[in-house]
Each structure stands twice: as structure tokens, then as C-alpha cells.
């Protein structure tokens, strides 16, 4: 993966597969350059054994093959910066994954195009789950939620090209000033 935002696109797919109704995505950049990406869902969760095993590339729920690289690749890219991945899950309740990156490390990936990732997620899952994105940095914060725009659209799918393009523009406009410097 070339961007942290691409990891997000990949990881959130797990929440969708777990049947989540609501996925809360967070990016928090702290003064010292520590960036925490979090994904919290209310999907079916994992048993403690599975939560431990998903760190291995040779574990997947998929039945066609026996490898799954999403979480291992994310772990690798956090560890290269001196960060790590935290995972909390409860069966029947949901899962939260937090990836910590030290953005002052030379090996840290750029944050990348968060608005394109959100647009892709919504495009691929227009009816459910709801996606809530919150970004915070010392420069301020922003929030975007599909729950907020769904009532305005009344019957028009979030996957309509004009809507997707509005979503992309809307997120980009607000993310740039918060994270400028670590985006590219």
C-alpha cells in the first residue's frame, strides 16, 4: 500500500463483511506527529482466539484461499515508523482497530487521498453501513457522516456519480487544512 488511506479502504471492508450497521472512522494527529487511525464497527465481532490470530497472514475467514494480508500489511507499515496496531473485539458487539503511525519517521506512508477512500467506500456500500468520519489535528477538527446526508437525498442512492463527486469534494475541502504536510 502506498497510502494510509488505502489501508483504511482495505480494513473497513472487514467491518462491512462483519455486517456492521455503523462504522466510525477516526484520524487523530497529535502535536508530536503521532497519528492514530481508528475503525470502530458494530459488526459481529471476533472471539478472543480469532482476534489474536488475525495478526497472522495465514488466517482469513475466506474459504477460497488460506491467506489474508490486510491486517499484517497494516501492522508492518505502522511498525516501520515505530508505531503499532491495537485490536479490541467482542463477539456480538463489534470490533475496534487502531493503527498508530509516527508521522515524523522517514518510513511513514503519506496519509494519502482520504476523500477518494471515503468516496470508494460509500460507492461500494451505498445502503449500509453508515460511515462516520472524524478528523482531528492541532489545527482543528471535522466530521462527515452519511447519516447526515441520507435524509437530504431521500430516495436517491449515495452511489450516484454526482453524489459521489459531491462527497469527495466536501471531504477534501475540510481534510486538507487539518492534515496538510502529511497528506503527500
Amino acid at each position: 500500500m502506498k497510502e494510509i488511506a488505502l489501508h483504511l479502504l482495505d480494513i473497513v471492508q472487514n467491518s462491512v463483511t462483519a455486517g456492521a450497521k455503523r462504522v466510525e472512522i477516526g484520524f487523530v494527529l497529535e502535536e508530536g506527529g503521532k497519528l492514530t487511525m481508528s475503525v470502530r464497527d458494530d459488526g459481529k465481532g471476533m472471539s478472543p482466539e480469532m482476534a489474536e490470530r488475525v495478526r497472522s497472514p495465514f488466517v482469513t475467514t475466506r474459504t477460497t484461499r488460506r491467506v489474508g494480508l490486510g491486517i499484517p500489511l497494516l501492522m508492518q507499515n505502522t511498525m516501520l515508523t515505530g508505531g503499532h496496531v491495537e485490536l479490541e473485539s467482542e463477539e456480538g458487539k463489534g470490533t475496534e482497530i487502531r493503527a498508530i503511525f509516527m508521522t515524523d519517521s522517514i518510513d511513514c506512508l503519506p496519509l494519502g487521498d482520504l476523500s477518494s477512500t471515503m468516496a470508494s467506500l460509500i460507492m461500494g456500500n451505498p445502503d449500509a453501513p453508515e460511515f462516520i468520519l472524524t478528523c482531528k489535528s492541532p489545527r482543528g477538527e471535522m466530521q462527515f457522516s452519511t447519516e447526515e446526508i441520507r435524509p437530504v437525498l431521500e430516495g436517491v442512492s449515495l452511489s450516484e456519480p454526482d453524489v459521489i463527486s459531491w462527497i469527495r469534494g466536501s471531504i477534501q475541502e475540510e481534510v486538507e487544512p487539518l492534515f496538510g504536510g502529511i497528506i503527500r
Binding site: T64, R65, L69, S116, F144, V152, E154, G155, S165
Partner: protein, 125 residues
């Protein structure tokens, strides 16, 4: 967030298009982009959004873009299926954003698949 009034205007403009599409459901062309870990790492996100942009630019009301998982040919990602009703599915491989406008113009709009970008051409090499 951008103004919700703008979104309301988009809703109104889109509603009329959707009605047209409903009347003509059998003629909807589907574009399916592989978006598993392998597809994403190979560059599927800009490819999918290029399809969305191209469809928006050309105001194609009878084309939908959707996503699928990994089908086990990770080395050929990004992969895109174009399914025109009544025709056989065409699979494009190693798709780059620059290739999208040609696929849309020649295949989606004019019904002639771009042979050199297809899985058949890649496998023959």
C-alpha cells in the same frame, strides 16, 4: 461539509435520471471493479473513481459501477469486468486510470471491447 443545499439540487437533478433508468432496466451496463487487498494495493481506487468521473462527464444514465472482492488472480489486478446486457462479460486486467476513458468510449458507449486491454490479450503474452 459543503452546503447541503447543493446536495438537494443534485438530488432533484438525479431523480429524473433514475426514472429514465427504471423504465429501461434491462439495458443497464455494469462495471465491476475488484477492490480486495490485492486490487487496492495495485491501484483499483483511482480506476474505480475514474469510471465514476467518466460516467458523470458523459452523463451516462444506464451504467452502474460496483465493487467486488478478490477472485484469485491477484497478479492481474486492477481488474475490471464490463457487462453489457445480452453480451458476454469482458474482463480487463492491469487497468490504469488512463485506460478508462477509452474503455468507456469504445466499449460501454459503442459496444466494441478494447481487445488489447482484456484478459485474453494478457494471457496470450
Amino acid at each position: 461539509m459543503k452546503s447541503l443545499a447543493e446536495l438537494e439540487a443534485i438530488r432533484k437533478a438525479t431523480l429524473s435520471k433514475i426514472n429514465l433508468r427504471k423504465e429501461d432496466e434491462d439495458s443497464v451496463t455494469r462495471v465491476v471493479v475488484g477492490m480486495a487487498t490485492c486490487g487496492i494495493a495495485a491501484g483499483a481506487r483511482p480506476v474505480m473513481l475514474s469510471f465514476v468521473d467518466e460516467i458523470q462527464k458523459r452523463q451516462l444514465n444506464n451504467v452502474t459501477v460496483s465493487q467486488t472482492g478478490c477472485i484469485g488472480m491477484c497478479r492481474l489486478e486492477p481488474m475490471v469486468d464490463v457487462i453489457v446486457p445480452g453480451k458476454e462479460k469482458v474482463t480487463y486486467v492491469h487497468v490504469k486510470p488512463e485506460m478508462v476513458s477509452r474503455i468507456v468510449a469504445e466499449h460501454v458507449v459503442n459496444g466494441r471491447p478494447v481487445a488489447e486491454y482484456t484478459i485474453g490479450a494478457a494471457e496470450a503474452e
